[in-house]
């Protein structure tokens, strides 16, 4: 079990705002997109044979009381220790998500090295990065129409289809409803699934 840090801007996120504006233009009439929120996800993976509680205390202090991970002037965060995060990850009320990771490597070695220099943390094996886009959408039937919106705003296929991830550099996973953290961990730790070219 890993510890999780979610960081988002509390000032206006211009990338999310631009994604919203661009996304609205790409959707067919009858579909609405009301909000997009972008969050950075950091997953703190214990060394083999260790548990996250061996470093969570020190890590939580570093998150809350240093500006190593979070700039409190512009960002807000949620730090979820292995025990408190629960079994599943639920999207914000009314939203669903697209989680994306780099296709080749999710580990951030330089961040880990810097962290070890400033905040020694025995037991911490790796820091992995991902990004989540939370979307509030509505289709003609009143539901979120997530499969349709994913096709239009998810993986980039051509000029008219896809926006938030480029599948040649990133792999993505849909977060519809409560998603087991174990699935999120596997998505970040395992090699990215093979690319499938659009038909």
């Amino acid at each position: 079990m890993s510890a999780i840090l979610l960081v988002r801007l509390k000032i206006t996120d211009l990338a999310a705002w631009t994604a919203l504006e661009t996304g609205r233009k790409l959707l067919d009439p009858g579909h609405a997109l009301t909000r997009i929120v972008r969050e950075q996800l950091l997953l703190f993976e214990p060394e083999t044979g260790q548990k996250a509680d061996s470093f969570e205390g020190v890590l939580g202090e570093a998150v809350r009381h240093s500006n190593f991970f979070v700039n409190p002037n512009k960002e807000t965060f949620r730090f979820l220790g292995a025990a408190e995060r629960g079994e599943t990850w639920s999207p914000p009320e009314g939203a669903w998500g697209i989680l994306s990771r780099a296709r080749d490597e999710t580990r951030d070695e330089s961040l880990l090295q810097s962290l070890r220099r400033e905040h020694p943390m025995p037991g911490l094996g790796a820091i992995r990065r991902a990004r989540v886009w939370w979307l509030w959408s509505k289709g003609p039937d009143g539901d979120a129409a997530a499969p349709y919106v994913t096709g239009v705003l998810g993986e980039l296929r051509d000029q008219k289809h896809g926006l938030l991830t480029n599948p040649h550099a990133e792999a993505s996973m849909i977060l519809a409803g409560a998603t087991p953290w174990s699935r999120v961990e596997r998505f970040l730790i395992d090699p990215a699934p093979a690319f499938r070219a659009a038909a």
């Binding site: 330089s110 000029q159 480029n166 040649h168």
Partner: protein, 280 residues
Amino acid sequence: MARVAVVQIPGVNCEYETTRALEAVGLEARIVRWNEPASVWTEFDAYVLPGGFAFQDRIRAGAIAAKLPAVDRIAAESESGKPVLGICNGAQVLVEAGLVPGFHRGRVEMALAPNKAPRRAGYLCRWVWLRVSPGPGASWYAASIRPGEVIPMPIAHGEGRFLTADPEVRDRIQKDGLALFRYVAPSGRPPEHYPYDPNGAMLEAAGITNQAGNVLAFMPHPERASWLRQVPLELRNAWGERRRAAVGRRHDLEGAGPGRIVFESLAARLLAREAQGARS
């Protein structure tokens, strides 16, 4: 005289230097705003998407600009054989719009991913060494480069790693000779490691063309190497020697730099096309 549109998208920052470099090789260059009406784009013989940070690189470098109607128009013009050169951020736009390599019309087949080098991450600004590989783009953008010649040029990017997740696309780029410019060591040998391989791009590619060769996504900045005065004094090859010899000689410093080769090739091809059009 051949007319070139230098596309000014909000956030680009190299449009004036690029215009000057194009004018220096005898082309008529005009900065054209991204929101000009559709009819304006047909007036030009060639298009250059300059470097910078179109739409502040929001979401991903080039992602928003790639969806502009202007890019749509330029894509349509490129299909009639008109050349399109994307420099750095312009290259990112062309890749995100699916113009390069363009095996399947309109399909995005590559990414320009964040740089990858041992113990280094993020933005990188330095001079690199390039060599031209034979391919369909050579007559458009590298005609005046001698076989085997090693050319120094500056790069300045955080996301310059040409990458495809589709092995078939990678194989075709290699087989068809679309990786026109490749990073090399100063000796001309394969780069093997950083800094000669500055970002970990597949095939050590610095510039990739479409199959016709008229569209080039080029990460280095030739407009920042178009005059000898722009060449660093410490460069260890013939260009560096020329630069050192020109210290204090204003006339010599205003001579051509290594990046001008790209614009000269483009100009020669455009002017030849124009002359052919006048004859027929």
